[in-house]
Symmetry: C2
Subunit: 204 residues, 2 copies
């Protein structure tokens, strides 16, 4: 029987998406749910709200709390953390490369590498050179090399149906439209979303 | 040795405070942390941000998600839920009565009863008659009667130092001031806050 599917929508510049991206793999495996990484862009949604930047910058008290909360959450999860500068970074190039990679074996590892580069190592992710470096580091690991030589060794690379991909307008519409009654918002709802995906699949 | 103390700041009209108020007792007992219920008023904080009502009303997409999320969270926690109408309700009278009760044995039970009346039973909590009804219901339970007759039977009523109480300006200042570097925000951080209180006490 096919596993239940959960779409994991995220922006590479989103702070709590870092936590979710690093947690979702093992949790989904345990819950027996197949996760599809879905990078999209928050910028157009912010603009539609009349915001010129992240609300964490627009509301300083909200921002101060978020950074402290993120630091504490990383410590609890034993994830490295370094506050990115600048914040937020433009995630368009990273999202475009990820959309290519997610139809190939290296997509999810690339996504995690982008998050780690930005939130653990304090590196820039907002230009093609930076993304190129991260992509090169990734492809020089032994595991990545073996995958590149023989992509069929990667289970995730086999037998998947072609999927429609979009990095801008349509994914933004989908992510923000009110008819998605069972969107779960944020890293804090990861476990609930996985339980929901399982229960929905069981109901048929 | 005295137990570590955690201040639980909440507004009776706050949706996620309903979840936290219903969960905090058993969790704190298990964590061996003493919790102090601290009702305060969100209204002045909203006003200081230029908001005339709850952000859940000002931003309809945020509001829609919150109500759905709250409904799902209540289902997971096996808590009854009914969407309050109107929302938010003025919580001033409830907070004032709670501040009296929290120096007596019936305070925490009263706080939970206010949350249940509003979020489980769909009752009004915004006038003195409604609060009077809830208070009367509470004092007619056998446990409450025995406490009323002999308040010293209640462990929580014994041996506590007098504490400064405030339901408006000063508690609002305290809750919103940036120097409170280890505020934990929301029901989602309840477990983290309890762990933090324990660890902070252990460090001395």
């Amino acid at each position: 029987m096919a596993l239940p599917v959960l779409d994991f929508w995220f922006d590479f510049a989103s702070t709590y998406s870092y936590l979710a991206a690093m947690r979702i793999g093992p949790l989904a495996q345990k819950a027996e749910v197949r996760v599809r990484f879905r990078p999209f862009l928050l910028g157009p949604i912010f603009k539609a709200q009349g915001w010129s930047t992240s609300p964490f910058n627009l509301y300083p008290a909200k921002g101060r709390h978020m950074w402290r909360d993120l630091e504490r959450s990383c410590a609890e999860l034993e994830l490295a953390f370094r506050r990115p500068d600048p914040f937020p970074q433009n995630s368009l190039v990273a999202a475009r490369v990820a959309l290519v990679g997610l139809d190939q074996p290296w997509g999810e590892a690339f996504c995690r590498a982008i998050f780690r580069a930005q939130f653990a190592d304090g590196r820039r992710i907002d230009d093609t050179a930076a993304i190129g470096d991260i992509r090169r580091d990734l492809s020089s690991t032994p595991r990545a090399r073996s995958r590149r030589l023989n992509p069929m060794q990667s289970k995730r690379g086999c037998g998947r149906k072609p999927r429609r991909r979009s990095g801008s307008a349509s994914s933004v519409r989908r992510a923000s439209r009110p008819s998605t009654a069972n969107c779960f918002w944020g890293n804090d709802r990861l476990e609930s979303a996985l339980r929901w995906a399982r229960a929905a699949a069981a109901r048929g």
